[in-house]
């Protein structure tokens, strides 16, 4: 991101540096590790993290620094062979805390550097337990990786290792194994400078240095699990993920967090059809590389074995309309095609009078679904359910709906969102509204109780789980969660971002955009979108804010749109 | 009338005994081959005598697998009689019968004993016995050629071709090798051959009959398609040879024909060279006891020769096809011809009385 200048005025000043013999231009002010990254050279590091203040205590990023030699009157000193003479600094320098300057020469692969790296790794491993078989970090551990790539391969240490506390309970979600800690202090700096909840620190000295919480404090911040992400070794582990699955079995799927309107970029780690964890994915425009614990742990409902996998046609819908019967609502599971065949004519008849129908969409749905839902709802009253929680001034937004912006943009939600729900409830009470279509919301918790739902002559619900609303419904069509479908969301800042399917539920459940498409077809529409890309193209052609957008060009990090 | 009944009885007995030997010689072959290869071979299936209530059976001779031939026969009969779609059905069905029939008919002229209660122990004492044997035995090749041709598939076809060439070549050697015997005996009747040997020594005892004996033995290996001359059904080359497309009982008939041929060739060898049912110091004429003893002597010689057949099969490797032809035409044929002259000379000199 830093390399793409938007205007000429913000173009950073560039300097010329030579890294391992490769001359490149890099922005002034970045450190040697980042400059080497520009040149495609990797400098190993533990304590350095691009988003954290520099500590410089691990000494892993040692490099040789030098520059061309000049006489005191700035005339170049030449070698006999005609090349300019180069002087290297006599001591190695750490790459993380050395900013580049014009003419700097960096060497990362000399014998001196290799010897320094070997020594650092040997020291780190002196007291590091050989826990790899049970360590959750194994497979994504920087100590393992660097030992293979930069280590000497053998230890000369024959004495007893220092023993420190194991399995220390740092907070409600994090467990610490002090023996594995390499004292990089990333977690301390994160809590102090990023999460603004200074609670961690080192005690004791030398080999006995130990990471611990301040007396009377706990690592209970809503961002505590980021310390697990940035821990280069297995010292800090996630209680939720601890001993559940090895990292090398997990499939990574790019996704976004749908717990609030921020839309943090995430990676979903799954094996088979089970999601084991979510971690933040780098996106400087949204969440840098952090996410909150609440959003991170909000994936369990996807693994729930009691999800809806069959369409349900309630027996109540078979007798004459208006007689709300509550007997045997759970029975009537049927195939999706069958349910659609039965629902089609009923819905068409019910929508003949548009005023007698109401639509409640979901601001947790994708833009594509909202677009088709808006088409279904055209001419009738529609709204979404607002939901909120306490915001903080870092990542968590008050709006818990991940796609409020999309719901408003595509015309499903009222302005302000939820303002028409009371009117819909009123309409049902007065028997003016006889048909209700609900997407992924349990409306009984939002002012339209089961008693009101019983008055409806046709209640159609699309959801991925059983709720009080699906139990009252005449037709239930099984949908899926954000982790099982393709689509786009628009976050609070107007950024259009994609999700990809990580797992698959199977059964009759399917992405709701397919359900809405099929319903539109039943109502006589001509929407024949066979895939999400065609649907997105259709939407982009009809929604001015999305004009010219192509799904495949949205990219992993999303694009900014003007929501007007 | 009585004579016809006796003949029928004799035919039934001979057929029964031959087929019985045929079944059990397969077992013997499997056991002997296993023993030669340091294995145990079949050692499970006994003859079932009684089935207990719990389903287990009391069996006889399980350790020696005496029930194995019985079970093999059942298996062959119960297997699906599959006929591939591409075969010529008529000849495909005819071939196994044509292979089996001549092998059995040969036994009609073989004297398997002297007499029993005045009845000669031979089904038909034809006075051109040996010619009958060769005439009928040479029909056996039709079964194999037909099987190979009607299967309409390349490996059986190659097997059939090989077999016709091989059988015709070695029939000549076979015929020539026995001519000297009849020059000495002065009869083609097989009973006369045995009678001559009771009066004199066995024919194999005369040095000038050693060479024809060897040629006869080798040629009969070739005639019966046994190793080292089993080119028509060389598994490694032809995936099984002329009978590849056959299964169930039809395959079993080819299998039986091979073993019946082997028994017939051995029986003829016993009759021609090894004195038939005679044995020194056993009286030539006598009552029932002597008659039975003669049959036993014949069978003992037969079994010894059959064992030799098996023994050779599991010792020698297969000949190459050109070697086989060279041996037949360039070695055995001239030697057999020369031997006719030699024996003629011997007779002229008067060494044979």
């Amino acid at each position: 991101m830093a390399e793409t200048p938007t205007t000429a005025a913000s173009t950073p000043e560039m300097v010329n540096v030579t890294i391992n013999g490769t001359a490149i231009r890099v922005p002034k002010g970045i450190n040697v590790i980042e400059a080497a990254r520009h040149a495609g050279v990797f400098i190993p590091h533990y304590c350095y993290h691009p988003k954290l203040p520099i500590a410089g205590n691990c000494r892993m990023c040692m490099v040789e620094i030098g520059e061309a030699m000049f006489t005191p009157d700035r005339q170049p000193v030449m070698e006999p062979d005609g090349k300019q003479k180069i002087v290297m600094q006599p001591r190695l320098a750490i790459g993380c805390n050395t900013p580049v300057k014009e003419g700097m020469i960096v060497v990362t692969n000399s014998a001196a550097v290799t010897r320094a790296q070997n020594a650092v790794l040997e020291f780190l491993l002196i007291n590091h337990p050989l826990d790899c078989p049970i360590c959750d970090q194994a497979g994504e551990c920087k100590l393992q990786e660097y030992s293979v790539e930069f280590g000497a391969g053998a230890s000369r240490f024959r004495e007893e290792k220092v023993h420190k506390p194991k399995k220390v309970d740092l907070g409600p979600r994090v467990v610490l194994d002090d023996e594995r800690c390499v004292l990089c202090s990333r977690c301390i700096r994160f809590m102090r400078d990023v999460a603004k909840d200074d609670c961690l620190g080192f005690v004791e000295r030398g080999s006995h240095s130990t990471l611990t919480c301040w007396p009377g404090k706990k690592l209970d911040s809503n961002y505590s699990l980021n310390t697990v992400d940035i821990c280069p070794v297995g010292a800090l582990t996630d209680k939720d993920f601890r001993f559940k699955m090895r990292a090398w079995f997990l499939k990574e799927t790019k996704s976004i967090c749908t717990s609030c309107a921020t839309g943090c970029n995430t990676t979903i780690w799954s094996r088979g059809n089970i999601i084991y964890r979510q971690t933040p994915r780098d996106n400087d425009a949204v969440n840098e590389c952090w996410m909150c614990d609440a959003g991170r742990l909000n994936y369990k409902f996807i693994n729930d074995p009691g999800r809806l996998t069959k369409a349900i046609v309630a027996p109540a819908s078979v007798p004459a309309a208006g007689k709300g019967s509550d007997a045997g609502k759970d029975a009537g599971a049927t195939s999706y095609e069958d349910a659609l065949k039965q629902l089609g004519p009923k819905l068409k008849a019910a929508l003949a009078n548009r005023d007698s129908a109401a639509f409640i969409g979901s601001a947790r749905a994708t833009n594509e679904e909202l677009y088709l839902f808006a088409r279904l709802a055209k001419g009738s009253v529609s709204d979404c359910v607002p939901r909120s929680w306490a915001a903080d001034n870092f990542l968590v937004k008050a709006d818990r709906n991940p796609n409020s912006a999309g719901a408003k943009l595509l015309g499903v939600a009222a302005e302000p969102m939820g303002s028409k729900l009371a009117a819909i409830a009123e309409g049902i009470k007065g028997s003016r509204i006889k048909t209700l279509v609900v997407h992924q919301e349990d409306v009984t918790k939002h002012g339209i109780g089961a008693d009101l739902l019983a008055k409806l002559s046709l209640l159609v619900v699309m959801d991925f789980k059983q709720t009080a609303t699906t139990k009252a419904a005449h037709f239930v069509l099984p949908g899926v969660t954000f982790a099982e479908k393709r689509g786009t969301f628009i976050n609070a800042k107007g950024r259009l971002q994609r999700v990809w399917p990580a797992v698959s539920l199977g059964g009759e459940a399917r992405p709701e955009w397919e359900i809405f498409r099929d319903l539109l077809r039943e109502l006589g529409g001509v929407d024949n979108h066979s895939d999400i890309a065609a649907l997105f193209a259709d939407m982009a052609g009809n929604v001015p804010a999305l004009a010219g957008r192509v799904l495949s060009k949205v990219g992993d990090e999303g694009v900014q749109i003007s929501t007007g | 009338m009585e004579a016809i009944l006796i003949d029928f009885f004799k035919i039934a007995c001979v057929m029964g005994v031959v087929l019985f030997i045929c079944a059990y010689i397969v077992l013997v072959e499997r056991r002997v081959c296993a023993f030669i290869q340091d294995r145990l071979g079949p050692n499970r299936v006994g003859i079932p005598l009684w089935i207990r209530k719990d389903g287990s059976a009391i069996t006889l001779g399980g350790k020696w697998a005496l029930g194995q031939p019985l079970m093999d026969a059942f298996k062959s009969l119960l297997k699906e009689d599959y006929v591939p779609a591409h075969v010529n059905k008529l000849y495909f069905w005819l071939a196994p019968m044509l292979a089996m029939f001549p092998a059995l008919v040969v036994f009609a002229v073989i004297p398997f004993g002297s007499q029993l209660g005045g009845v000669p122990m031979i089904v038909a004492d034809v006075n051109v016995g040996i010619l009958f044997v060769f005439a009928v035995a040479s029909l056996g090749v039709y079964g194999i050629v037909l099987a190979g041709w009607s299967s309409n598939s390349k490996y059986p076809f190659l097997g059939g071709i090989r077999s016709s060439a091989q059988l015709i070549s070695y029939e000549i050697c076979l015929g020539l090798s026995v001519i000297p015997l009849f020059m000495q005996v002065e009869s083609l009747k097989l009973t006369s051959v045995v009678a001559w040997q009771t009066n004199h020594l066995w024919l194999i005892c005369y040095p000038w009959n050693w060479l024809p004996g060897l040629i006869y033995l080798a040629s009969s290996f070739a005639e019966t398609n046994r190793l080292p001359f089993d080119l028509p059904e060389a598994e490694q080359e032809l995936a099984g040879g002329y009978n590849v497309e056959y299964g169930s009982m039809k395959f079993a008939m080819f299998f039986m024909a091979e073993y019946t041929n082997m028994i017939a060739a051995s029986a003829l060898m016993v009759t021609l060279f090894l004195g038939g049912w005679s044995l020194p110091f056993v009286p030539v004429t006598g009552g029932v006891v002597v008659g039975l003893a003669h049959i036993c002597i014949f069978l003992a010689k037969l079994f010894a020769l059959l064992f030799f057949f098996i023994w050779v099969r599991w010792t020698l490797p297969r000949f190459r096809y050109d070697q086989l032809m060279e041996l037949g035409w360039k070695v055995f044929l001239p030697l057999a011809l020369a031997n006719v002259l030699i024996v003629a000379g011997v007779i002229m000199v008067g060494w044979v009385k």
Partner: protein, 166 residues
């Protein structure tokens, strides 16, 4: 290269002496000791280092040596192994080990006896050992669980006792 065929003497060309000596050899084999066994009744003697089916072992204290690192599951070419790890309770006897398999299944219908699991195991907990007659009457019976694998494996003393020093 042209190979010179050896010149054979007349006796050799007759083949008969060679045939006779061959016959003598095969005949002598008839009376030798047989090498095959009547299997279900007579069982072969299995040497202690026999590579039979994969089994789990305990140390002499009775601790399941496996720590559920799942490397064998990862390396298994036919994916026969399925492990569900579990954390030892805080106050358990071997709480120091922290991790142990809750479930450890080997689908013996899938196992190809390659021994990668034994080779990769960092704890020397899984071995290809004596049991060779792997049979069952259903697919389910052929999925060997942890208890069965431990019963088949028995005890293998561990002189290092790495986890005690933690």
């Amino acid at each position: 290269m042209k190979l010179e065929r050896p010149k054979l003497t007349l006796l050799e060309r007759l083949y008969l002496p060679a045939i006779v000596s061959g016959l003598a050899l095969t005949f002598s084999h008839i009376f030798r000791k047989k090498v095959t066994l009547r299997y279900p009744e007579e069982k072969p003697e299995i040497p202690p280092n026999y590579r039979g089916q994969p089994v789990l072992v305990k140390d002499e204290e009775g601790r399941v040596k496996c720590v559920a690192c799942q490397l064998c599951e990862f390396v298994c070419p036919p994916r026969a192994i399925t492990i569900k790890p579990m954390e030892y309770p805080e106050n358990a006897k071997y709480g120091k080990v922290e991790k142990t398999p809750a479930e450890f299944d080997i689908d013996m219908l899938r196992c190809i006896y390659c021994g990668y699991c034994e080779e990769v195991c960092p704890e020397q907990a899984i071995f290809l050992r004596g049991p060779y007659s792997v049979t069952g009457l259903s697919r389910k019976a052929m999925v060997f669980n942890k208890e069965k694998l431990l019963e088949l494996g028995g005890t293998l003393p561990d002189p290092i006792k790495k986890w005690q020093k933690k």
